[in-house]
Symmetry: C2
């Protein structure tokens, strides 16, 4: 069995490895885990001994199949619990991430499968992130970051990639929640901010925000 800490490292490494296909670096992990590089090196040795990562000194790490399976399993639990909290316990989408950080480490295979069934095998969590199935398979993703879209493009907001309460509440005030149809009216050269058409109204959104919104567009 793996400690909470080991699981969190694997999850962090998994998310970082999704950003590009080069090995994940020590400092990036340290930032993700809010710890020091020296501590990361210590843990990388341990994860390597357990064959959860491939690790070459100074060269960064990649997850082994075993490591990837573990990481995906933790992510599956995280996202299923978030669905439970929002759908069954009436939490807001900005209130669930921290609690799911704890629940994701509960260790019972039967529990996960029963929870999945109880929730009706959801495909997405409350932030639009795909939930891996029993076999670790994700629903295919053809998302694009809002800030990568062009003038005139339309699409549906399908997810975010920041989960702080502050950010999610900000989006709600702007009316930018999952499932909302948006259209790019204008992009400002000056600061990269974007004017959107949402529900017939024009709103202005900073680059900080557009970088953190995922859109499904056709």
């Amino acid at each position: 069995m793996h400690s909470f800490t080991e699981e969190n490292y694997l999850k962090t490494i998994y998310h970082l490895s999704q950003l590009n296909d080069s090995p994940v670096q020590t400092n990036a992990i340290a930032e993700g885990m809010k710890t020091r590089a020296a501590s990361v090196t210590d843990m990388l040795k341990k994860l390597s001994d357990k064959q959860l990562i491939d690790y070459i000194k100074y060269q960064g790490v990649t997850l082994t199949d075993k490591g990837k399976t573990t990481a995906v399993s933790v992510i599956r639990k995280h996202r299923l619990w978030e669905v439970f909290l929002v759908e069954k316990l009436k939490f807001k989408w900005d209130e669930v991430h921290e609690i799911a950080e704890e629940l994701e480490h509960i260790n019972s295979g039967l529990l996960v499968e029963r929870l999945d069934e109880f929730l009706g095998f959801p495909k997405r969590d409350p932030h639009g992130d795909p939930i891996p199935d029993h076999n670790g398979i994700f629903e295919p993703d053809q998302n694009i970051h809002l800030h990568e879209m062009s003038r005139g493009d339309k699409g549906v907001i399908i997810g975010v990639n920041e989960y702080t309460s502050a950010f999610l509440k900000h989006l709600e005030r702007l009316g930018l929640t999952i499932g909302i149809l948006i259209e790019i009216e204008e992009i400002a050269d000056y600061d990269g901010s974007v004017e959107l058409l949402v529900d017939g109204k024009k709103i202005n959104v900073s680059k900080e925000v557009t970088q953190r919104i995922l859109v499904n567009y056709k």
Copy 2:
């Protein structure tokens, strides 16, 4: 905030202090926590520093109000999660205790209250144990151990005080589950075993079992 370990010590001390009104002894805690007396002494100093227990060397411990509140809160969570697992996720009563041992440490006040509401404010867990309410108040208990009853007494099984799968499955095979009406037919002097009338049938039950069954009798 308290570590999982601290919470488990408090819970163990709470349960032991229910057995009689003298201070709880180091060895009893060691047995309950499946650890060594020396480790218990270490932890008692820590809990005492945090004002969760009153501790006098060699004289055993009692919980402070603060300690009792914490222990009861953990027990509340444990039992609510057990109800959730059985009522919503279709677990058997012998499958939930270990998982609840993990879930009881999830740290969110809002979560507990929402879960309680979602479950319809249950008064008892799947093993018949009372669930403390929001303020830590338990439903009053007028239970008696089955082995304390006399020939001819009748009552309804209302709880157990062992939660291992082996024991609970044994009870199920015997037909001795929560809510079942029983009558004492005979008590054997020789080994303390008891002949019960259950659902019109006579069954014989060992003292090991009768000591672990709680009955509500009038």
